[in-house]
């Protein structure tokens, strides 16, 4: 691990990015010691706000020379603590100044953006040009950046059709820990456009997706774009069990019919979002919200008919369009109103849709074990989001209203995470949320290769030390 001190290089960094973009102030450093997770970081030693790839490269070269750790950070809206420094005196690179659209290439239907661009801003700017991205960003996409999502494998809006954040990427520009600048995909050829991910050599793009910023600093990403849809339909469907709702979710996803699929797993969750709806349909245990977006209204309507047939066959029924319209119309704003229930503790992970009901059953057992099911000061939301083929997120989020009950919450939260791993779940990100649960189980060969790659690319262990235990 690197162990140098920061002071000798402050002036040099100021000459790279300008003194107004470098801060040693204690309160400024402190404000970067938390993200949207409940975890706390070591207070950074220096905050630097670069604007260009070359600046990042120069900073990393200096950090290597002086053996100072560097932690890249985006909008810091992540909920696993991925961007929190684990070692003292790190330089935090606040990349939110790098927020430009570099190029919209209509020939190859791609957009190249700087990594610090927020998803909501990207959507806005693209919509003015008549385009959309497939994966729209995590549910925290107001503040979440493209680079931050790619570094943490985030999933979210649009994932049912378009997969996780990394699936949208054609090419990346990455500054390696030692300062070299790499362009992946067809970008290896300086004369070629960045239009293809799988081209000529290995998929080096994938090496950096989900790396939590330990193998390089992403400075630009080229993403696929699509014309804005002409057909958009919504549907909310009620089911009397999570099994029936999951079956419908699976069948819809198998046929790739929806842009977005959200499953509210239990009555507790449905009531949290809308008590009125839960009262109106006392028999409804789960609600599946379906959003379909297509190039034309005819295609969207045809897909809707298929969805309705599947729902009927699975025992569900139409209950309106409010949830799905609210979910889509209030993109990136659906989680925040839940903060009123208390501070949030997450268990975000992936699992096959068919294994989702098992998780919900086990979660209810855990809630019962600790009395959470009867405690109004600790509440939960259990939901799933369709991802890519036939897997989904398992989102059991706990909300702690009364901080004095943290000990109960901690036990519940810990049991949930253990059960998730034991039942074949895999977190999409690791961070401080998951490392102690996943690292002991990583296959030796997998971890050994990861270590070798890290050592090769980052010989001085400059970038985000201690993440993944490295």
């Amino acid at each position: 691990m690197s162990e140098g001190t920061i002071e000798p290089i402050v002036e040099e960094i100021e000459s790279i990015v300008g003194s107004e973009n470098v801060s040693l102030s204690k309160i400024i450093r402190l404000s970067y010691s938390e993200d949207a997770s409940p975890f706390h970081a070591r207070i950074p030693g220096l905050i630097v706000r670069p604007a260009e790839t070359l600046e990042v490269s120069q900073i990393l070269r200096l950090a290597n020379e002086y053996l100072v750790p560097v932690v890249p950070a985006g909008g810091r809206s992540g909920i696993c603590g991925a961007c929190l420094p684990r070692v003292p005196n790190a330089i935090v690179l606040d990349l939110t100044r790098m927020d430009n659209i570099v190029e919209v290439d209509e020939d190859s239907q791609t957009v190249t953006v700087q990594a610090g661009l927020r998803w909501a801003e990207l959507i806005y700017k693209l919509s003015k040009l008549g385009y959309k991205v497939g994966f729209r960003g995590p549910f925290g996409g107001n503040a979440g950046t493209v680079g931050g999502s790619l570094s943490s494998n985030s999933v979210g809006c649009g994932s049912a059709k378009w997969g996780s954040s990394g699936d949208s990427v054609v090419s990346l520009e990455v500054v390696l820990p030692t300062g070299e600048i790499l362009r992946t995909g067809s970008g290896w050829n300086p004369l070629a456009k960045k239009f293809a991910r799988y081209a000529t050599f290995n998929d080096l793009t994938g090496l950096f997706i989900g790396d939590h910023g330990i193998l390089g600093v992403k400075t630009e990403a080229t993403l696929k774009i699509y014309p804005l849809p002409e057909g958009r339909v919504f549907g909310d469907f009620g089911f009397n069990s999570v099994e029936a709702a999951s079956k419908a979710m699976y069948e819809i996803q198998k046929r790739k019919l929806a842009e977005e699929l959200v499953l509210m797993a239990d009555r507790h969750t449905v009531s949290s979002y809308a008590l009125q709806l839960a009262e109106k349909y006392p028999e409804v245990e789960s609600v599946l919200a379906v959003i379909i977006e297509e190039a034309s209204e005819e295609i969207a309507e045809a897909k809707k008919k298929l969805v309705e047939r599947i729902v009927r066959e699975c025992g569900g029924f139409f209950i309106g369009t409010f949830f799905s319209r609210l979910h889509w119309g209030e993109m990136f704003n659906v989680v925040q109103p839940l903060f009123e229930e208390g501070y949030w503790y997450n268990t975000c992970h992936l699992r096959p849709i068919t294994m989702f009901p098992e998780l919900v059953r086990k979660a209810h057992e855990i809630f019962k074990k600790y009395g959470v099911d009867k405690d109004p000061e600790i509440t939960w939301v259990a939901s799933a989001l369709g991802i890519d083929r036939c897997h989904c997120t398992g989102w059991i989020t706990l909300f702690l209203k009364n901080p004095e009950k943290k000990h109960i919450l901690e036990k519940t939260w810990s049991d949930l995470r253990k059960v998730i791993i034991e039942t074949g779940g895999v977190p999409y990100w690791a961070g401080l949320l998951w490392e102690e649960y996943v690292l002991p189980r990583v296959h030796y060969g997998f971890f050994d290769l990861l270590k070798k790659i890290k050592r090769t690319l980052d010989p001085n262990n400059i970038l985000h030390p201690l993440v993944f235990g490295l």
Binding site: N21, S25, S31, A120, G329
Partner: protein, 541 residues
């Protein structure tokens, strides 16, 4: 290093805990994703760049002050005064009803700092000026009204309406006060001004000097009460907010008179008068919402309504407006404490105004005008709404009876307005104060053909409502109805039929008949306000 008791900040501990640290307070852009005119709401963070200056960072820092991991020093003291308390973060925040009130938390922190002797040198001289000269600018108090010249003798010493000029317009933006006086006279409004007007104490409150502000408040309220004043009109939203929101709180009693900003007074006053305003040449203008008038007091439509009264002007809106408008940078004591920062913030707002193509940037605040003008550097004309109206006033127009009786086409929107007025049971279940917009749109182009809004005055089985044309200030929801759908809704015999049809148009829209709803509050808040009953009956939820 000193130990500080944070008794005022501690009142907000629950909210500090509930902040989910999502980062929306400075990084969000909601224009395409939720149809809100919101983009990077924290005007100060947009300039200073670092997390410490937005609400999330401020809350992290304050939590560290409370738990003793951070101690008060000069750096903290300065940082505490870098917030304009504009409230854009609060409007953006969805964590609690109304948003986490970071401006009030920052003001609480300032009160705690001041009460324990942590004071900024510059503030002390301003405090001294107010004590000795009754104004923060250090200007002679006897010259306060001198800008009115002979005009003062034409203003009666007593009247039911008083115009409170404020320190900034008395000494720095006299043209606004002159315009307001001229305009009120042109319109035949009988009003008075306080011959011994003093500072309202707004700046003292923003700095955290509550006791000193209280004595200002006591004196002024007593004076207006003695004079028998029924309405006080302001051109300064800072003074207006102080009278309307702060005085009742720090004095612990009602004022005994009504308070209005000039734009509200005029919006109401001119409604049933035939007064013409004519611009010398056709011009595109835009309007900057002052934070103390908009976010702090919910006045958004009145200034726009009166700007639209001026013939020849086209009002275009900036990217961020109304409750999401960027601050000009002058408020919360920032202009006097960090003038360079205030100017940098204002330059960003000027850029937004220039992007609209407008030649005139209007506002309704002397403090905004002062700061924006310094930042604009002649790139765009900065004008107060009072000046605009005084400048374009033509006079009362005598109506000539039309020779041919014009047949006014009754549109589906007008039919729906009448229908709702007659079928108030539709609004059963809504709490008093609920406010929501209707936009009746051309089904094909989706262009609004009529905009109106409903205000619930009294709840009940047959609630008392008011339907007004235009757009509500800070509405709860906006209901968009296509004209063919409106035509069918007005055929409904009773609430249940109306609700069912409403639900059908929402859930099963066709090309021609559709309803859409834009929520301006979280569903949780809306349920608490009583919207759930109709939504449930209509099958929306």
């Amino acid at each position: 290093m000193a130990r500080v008791e944070f008794s005022n900040v501690k009142k907000f501990e629950e909210f500090l805990y509930l902040c989910g640290k999502c980062g929306d307070c400075s990084l969000a852009v909601k224009i395409a994703t939720s149809k809100s005119p919101l983009s990077h709401p924290c005007a100060v963070k947009n300039v200073l760049g670092y997390e410490a200056y937005d609400a999330r960072g401020r809350i992290i820092i304050i939590k560290n002050l409370l738990n003793g991991k951070l101690e008060v020093n000069d750096e903290i003291l300065e940082w505490a005064y870098t917030c304009t308390t504009c409230g854009a973060c609060r409007e953006t925040c969805l964590a609690v009803e109304g948003g986490i009130d970071t401006p009030s938390i920052m003001e609480a922190l300032r009160r705690d700092l001041v009460s324990q002797g942590f004071r900024i040198e510059k503030h002390l001289s301003i405090l001294e000026n107010i004590k000795k000269l009754d104004n923060p600018y250090g200007e002679p108090k006897e010259e306060r009204l001198s800008f009115l010249g002979d005009e003062l003798s034409n203003i009666p010493e007593k009247a039911e309406i008083a115009y409170f000029i404020g320190c900034t317009s008395s000494y720095r933006t006299k043209e606004i006060a002159l315009a307001a006086v001229k305009l009120l006279k042109q319109l035949g409004v009988e009003f008075t001004v306080l011959r011994d007007e003093t500072c309202c104490g707004s700046i003292l409150l923003r700095y955290g000097y509550v006791d000193e502000a209280r004595s200002q408040a006591e004196r002024l309220v007593k004076r207006f009460n003695e004079m028998g004043v029924k309405t006080v009109i302001f051109t300064c939203p800072g003074c207006y907010r102080t009278f309307k929101k702060d005085y009742p709180e720090i004095l612990g009693r009602e004022l005994g008179f009504e308070t209005l900003h000039l734009v509200e007074f005029l919006d109401n006053y001119l409604k049933d008068k035939n007064v013409a305003f004519e611009a010398k040449k056709s011009e595109v203008v835009t309007y900057h919402d002052p934070c103390h008038l908009g976010r702090h007091l919910n006045v958004y439509e009145a200034p726009r309504n009166i700007i639209r009264l001026v013939n020849g002007l086209t009002l275009v809106e900036m990217e961020t407006i109304k409750n999401f408008a960027h601050c000009c940078g002058a408020g919360g004591g920032v202009k006097s404490t960090f003038p360079d920062l205030a100017l940098k913030v204002a330059r960003n707002r000027i850029s937004e105004a220039l992007e609209t193509g407008a030649k005139i940037l209007l506002s309704a605040c002397p403090f905004c005008k002062l700061n924006l003008k310094q930042a604009a550097n002649n790139g765009i004309r900065i004008l107060d709404v009072a000046e605009l109206l005084a400048e374009t006033y033509v006079g009362e127009v005598v109506e000539v009876a039309p020779k041919v009786v014009e047949v006014v086409e009754v549109t589906p929107g007008m039919k729906l307005m009448d229908y709702l007025n007659e079928h108030v049971e539709i609004f059963k279940g809504l709490r008093m104060g609920c406010k929501f917009n209707y936009e009746i749109v051309d089904w094909k182009t989706q262009e609004p053909k009529l905009k109106f809004y409903v205000t619930v005055l009294e709840s009940g089985e047959k609630p008392k409502i008011k339907i007004s044309k235009g757009v509500a200030d800070n509405p709860d929801v906006t209901i968009i109805i296509s004209e063919p759908a409106a035509e069918k809704l007005v055929e409904c015999k009773e609430r249940s039929e109306y609700a069912e049809l409403f639900g059908n148009f929402f859930n099963e829209p066709t090309d021609e008949e559709y309803i859409d709803v834009i929520l301006h509050r979280s569903t949780k808040e809306l349920m608490k306000m009583g919207y759930g009953e109709f939504a449930r009956e209509a099958g929306l939820i």
